[in-house]
Symmetry: C2
Subunit: 429 residues, 2 copies
């Protein structure tokens, strides 16, 4: 079953904003076995939208539109679909009553413009909106389906989920898409590809086949495993077996099998052990601590973070000896270790991270160019900290991102007690 | 002149990834007066792309395609455009030589697959690619233009900029789009709208009119002023006059007139004064310091940041008296002030920020629900710090975002010495 998604709104055609609703819609449709083969973005232009909708409708089994259901003259999705399918708009008394009631509950009278939202193409089914005034609409026409959904995500999402369960799933042919996402840190994309390609290439020959996609994001790599099967249990077993094969090849490099973020995985490992962590960052400027504290409940294990840009602050807050900085430079492995051990000891916790580097654009030298970052992870339970020097590429924010993820991944690997011999932009000393 | 953008690639139809190239392309096209009226996203499917391209070509003056120019069988953009326009593909000897040379420079032989990239539709102009092997293509057909650009941004961007200057600008009718972006913090969207609507509504009646769009992002509001004019100097003068009107109405609320970020604006104000800043954050977890240090050169004015989640850390690092926490609670205005003044004094700098709050999802109470955040800004040059209690809505990361922006904005307003009487989610004591 083939679907197109049309996102409606002139603001989505500016350079400042684009459609993101289609990502969620794709996820829901894929989940019930519907393929998205085209996405279109159209402005608030009735004639243009009518043409685009018709072109999509002619070639697809399902068209999902989002946006343009508001009460103002700009909102033309109802009208365009009505024009295209030749289904005249009629006022729906129950929709009107629901909108009036929504306003009345807040003690307001319904503004006259909102009356437009009660216009419904003949034969359309009204989809209730628990979070706004715009009802959604579902139209079956020429054995095809058309869904008109509001633009605001908190209105669109529950409406689409209900529609998928109640109507779309049974129109799909029963073959569902099953997907697993593995996340990997500390390895170059080429290294991952080299190791997993001989494995996943065999999956294409099995029935049903498993498709593998490698997506590289800054500082991490995702492996998406996808299969189509009518039998959910069989698909799950096949995907489990496939993941087991990958784990044999690149086990420790995989930090997540369920979409969890690196900072959440590290947090769970700390929680399991009842340990706390302290972070001393220089070039990452607080980003590492901010990532860790993005996770709900992180106050249970994040004791302290310090951003020590200046040498004086490194000494005052983490006890880094002035002589050490003088001897090796602020960006050096000994200073990274002193930061990690110093902040860990001062905070009286079990784990410590130290990061010192050159995020640029200024401050680089021939010996230590912009992107050079020394990272140390230290545990109270081990006498030897782990320390690595990375050379990241990219602009300032990219280097901060890489370095903060590398620090979290090194700490994760240290907690696994399996070494931190990553190959990802590491400079050998 | 009407344009459509088609982004090509099956990965752009997954729930994990979408087209972002079109934002840059829109910016460049708008800049030379070309309107983008439609955007489409198509997978690596020759038949589907042929149809979508033809539908766009028939109704537009210009179609820009990006992606699908690589060397593998998946890459079908050349073939689809060739099919659609009936222009057979021919191997271009100079393109082939350029690709071979690119590999030779690295000491490699050209893989056989890359030969496909030398296939050029009859009559097409080859656009040089300084950053990759895939050449771009420019086709003029039936008085319309078609650009085929590579997908990787660092290859696509310079190629499009050259194409815009050399070929597209003179095809556009000379009426260019001129845009200014004002950024506002510390005000609710409705308040901004209420104050500026009477002003911008008059601009619609002038010739040429100025369009105003209000875009609300978490923690800030953008006003986009757009006008179309053949005469750049007249447009600039009109926009300057419009901005002057807005400044009379909401002067201090505008923190940027040139797209600069709040952290960059605050950084410049500190640099001008030769001042340094220290930050003590609890619920924002390092995000405020990380924002400030995103700005190149921020090491000149960011002296120190501390993330003090625990009460013990608040006392140890910022000297917050234990009794003060016991008397008022950790999330209170007195503690926020003690954090700001404490970290400023300990760091020996001119400006200090203190943030303490409940980011959730746990930790809220009836009196201090999730989203309650107390923020203080303190200057060595003033005896009285500014302190406010905010009640932000949203999830944990949203609350962190709001609170960090509010802290930066309060500090900016304190430096302006014009008070911090914002109306944005502030709880009156």
């Amino acid at each position: 079953m083939k679907a197109a998604i049309l996102a409606v709104g002139s603001e989505l055609l500016t350079s400042a904003k684009t459609d993101t609703n289609s990502l969620f819609i794709t996820d829901v449709l894929n989940g019930i076995g519907i393929d998205v083969v085209f996405k279109g973005i159209v402005g608030d232009d009735r004639a243009e939208l009518t043409v685009q909708f018709l072109q999509a409708f002619e070639r697809m089994d399902l068209v999902v539109l989002t946006g343009g259901l508001g009460p103002t003259d700009d909102d033309v999705t109802r009208e365009a679909v009505s024009d295209a399918l030749g289904l005249p708009l009629q006022e729906d008394a129950s929709v009107l009553a629901a909108i009036e009631e929504r306003f009345a509950k807040r003690g307001w009278e319904m503004p006259a413009v909102n009356r437009r939202q009660a216009q419904v193409p003949r034969g359309a089914v009204v989809l209730a909106n628990g979070n706004g005034t715009a009802p959604g609409l579902w139209i079956e026409h020429n054995h095809k389906g058309v869904a008109l959904l509001p633009g605001p995500p908190r209105e669109m999402r529950p409406m689409l989920q209900a529609l998928a369960e109640e109507r779309l799933a049974r129109r799909a042919d029963g073959v569902r898409i099953h997907r697993r996402v593995l996340k990997i840190a500390g390895r170059a994309e080429s290294r991952v590809e080299e190791r997993v390609q001989p494995i996943y290439s065999t999956w294409l020959r099995q029935t049903p086949p498993i498709d593998t996609t490698i997506l590289a994001a800054p500082g991490q790599i995702e492996l998406h495993l996808t299969t189509r099967d009518r039998d959910a249990a069989r698909a799950a077993a096949m995907l489990d077996a496939a993941i087991a094969q990958l784990e044999t090849a690149i086990g420790d490099d995989i930090f997540s099998r369920d979409g969890k973020r690196l900072e959440a995985v590290l947090g769970e490992m700390l929680l399991e052990r009842g340990w706390r962590i302290a972070i001393a960052e220089s070039c990452t400027g607080g980003l590492t601590t901010s990532r860790l504290t993005d996770i709900p409940g992180s106050s249970a294990y994040v004791e302290l973070g310090v951003v020590v840009y200046s040498n004086a602050a490194k000494t005052a807050l983490c006890g880094v000896p002035e002589e050490l900085i003088a001897a090796h430079g602020a960006v050096s492995e000994p200073v990274a270790v002193a930061l990690a051990e110093g902040i860990r000891a001062r905070a009286g916790v079990e784990a410590g991270i130290g990061i010192t580097g050159i995020a640029g654009p200024g401050g680089g030298s021939e010996q230590k160019p912009v992107g050079t970052v020394c990272i140390a992870a230290s545990l109270a339970s081990r006498s030897e900290p782990h320390v690595r020097t990375f050379r990241f590429v990219g602009g300032r924010e990219m280097i901060k991102t890489f370095a903060s993820l590398a620090a979290l991944d090194m700490t994760r690997r240290l907690l696994l007690e399996r070494g931190t011999d990553v190959d990802w932009n590491v400079m050998r000393g």
